[in-house]
Amino acid sequence: MGKKVVTTIKVISVITIFTAALFLLQMLLMPKFQHGIVEGSMIEEYYKDESTHEIIFIGDCELYENISPVTLYENFGYTSYIRGSAQQLPWQSYYLLEDTLRYETPKVVVFNVLSLKYDKPQSETYNRMSIDGMKWSSSKIDCINASMTEDESFIEYVFPILRYHDRWSELENDDFNYLFNKDLVTHNGYYMRCDVKPQTGFPSPTPLTDYTLGSNAMYYLDRMTEICKENGINLILIKAPTEFPYWYPEWDAQIVKYAENHNLTYVNYIPLQDEIGLDMSVDTYDAGLHLNNSGAEKFTMYLGNTLFSDLGLTDYRDNETISSVWQDKIVFYNEMKEQQLSELEN
């Protein structure tokens, strides 16, 4: 009897050690997204933020590069977080929203409508950036199933080592340095870029044979609308004030109608660039695709003064607990801004 117990303990120990070793290997092989392309770190950062937020932004790079939650807090006291990711698709936005509601119930959710032009799964690489950082839940499972391209399989999301195993020959210092802990790369989801590359112009838009926004994309917009309604959340639709990729008037008309039919606020900020105070010769870092920090702060101020002004949001600047948390965020934000500006000068 004693011998059996010892053998069992030994077997369990070996299995445990083996599993732990595999898990450690998996952690090593997964990309860290700490330098260069940092977008892969964005989704998981949300879980590190222990404060609550009255505004949640959900969507793609037109949100996470164009809006600054720190600016919104500093100037208005509004707390917010951008649950953004690169080429975040409508179904991913829905499931990320569903995931967010496990942790908090904001007063307002802002969704950028550009992604509604995508009706089908697009890219495994972008999928991983939007999904790998999610904590495991039914939302993540559903998100994976809705997102997978033909070449992907669910098991590779459960065991990412199956996907990233061939990175073993490409391991870099970051893979070891950030094995257990990663640095924050965003400011409540905002990706800061202080450099400047002026917008010079865009090619003419290509006429489409069919401007109807896809039924799958709109189905997930319906679900976002519904879940916000069920939770007493004010869902606001926006189109960020950047002109490329091209946002067809025919698409815009469909969203205007959708908003009317569902009693939602929708604002297309492209025609409001002047009113916002944007100068696309200095307020963009990539020739007009996204705003830089200067542009993002202008747009954020505009949102604070207009869109968010009558929504009953709380000014938390006098709240000792919350302002203490945000003070740290402000310091981090200003440090990064100074560092980037200093690098640009040199």
Binding site: T7, K10, V11, V14, I15, F18, A21, L22, L25, P31, G36, I37, E39, G40, D60, C61, A86, Q87, Y118, K120, Q122, S123, E124, T125, Y126, R128, M129, T149, E150, D151, I161, L162, Y164, H165, D166, R167, W168, E170, E172, K197, Q199, T200, G201, F202, P203, S204, P205, T206, P207, L208, T209, D210, F244, P245, Y246, Y248, D286, A287, G288, L289
Partner: protein, 189 residues
């Protein structure tokens, strides 16, 4: 003891298998990609950041430019030098730098490309004006009757467009008041 040994050997073999094999899967998390300094802007009206498998099924729909027949999904990296210097060129990074979307203009013809595994593939071919005709002779200003007399029954049509689909390509005629106002060759999504 024998069982433990078996388990350990199995573990080592599995470890070796995982680290040794290369699925050739798209490892395009682009960890090694660096942003370029030349970020001018291109525009695509269809999804250009789609690195899903390139459809190599043969299509008859393509346009002959400078003696070279070009079709959607063609490897443009192979032929771009043969076409000569474009009149204009734009490029833009896609989100998280998953490659550059590019737009080349040769006279009245615009070619847009998308990147996959460091190769540029043809996303679309577009005609800007009525100087250019399709290889079959249709141009901007042609009537819908002229289109169907040349190409036959369309794959799809409505008041504002006529589309022919073959293999991995669409030939699209955008109509305004019954006349062709724009012509595009696009990849089948």
């Amino acid at each position: 003891m024998k069982r433990i040994l078996t388990l350990t050997v199995t573990s080592v073999m599995l470890f070796s298998l995982i680290t040794a094999c290369s699925s050739g899967s798209n490892n395009n998390t682009a960890i090694t990609a660096a942003t370029t300094g030349n970020n001018e802007v291109s525009e695509t009206s269809v999804d250009s950041s789609d690195p899903s498998a390139v459809d190599t099924s043969i299509s008859e729909y393509g346009y002959t430019l400078n003696g070279i027949k070009i079709k959607p999904n063609d490897n443009f990296s192979d032929i771009v030098d043969s076409l000569g210097e474009p009149d204009t060129y734009f490029e833009s990074e896609s989100c998280a730098f998953q490659g550059l979307d590019k737009v080349y203009t040769y006279g009245s013809v615009t070619i847009k490309t998308y990147p996959k595994d460091d190769i540029d593939y043809v996303l679309s071919i577009e005609f800007k004006d009525d100087i250019t005709k399709t290889d079959e002779g249709i141009k901007i200003g042609s009537s819908s009757d002229e289109i169907t007399s040349v190409y036959g029954e369309p794959s799809a049509s409505n008041d504002s467009s006529i589309t022919y689909t073959d293999g991995n390509a669409n030939l699209n005629f955008i109509l305004t008041d019954g006349k062709v106002s724009y012509i595009t060759y696009t990849r089948v999504e």
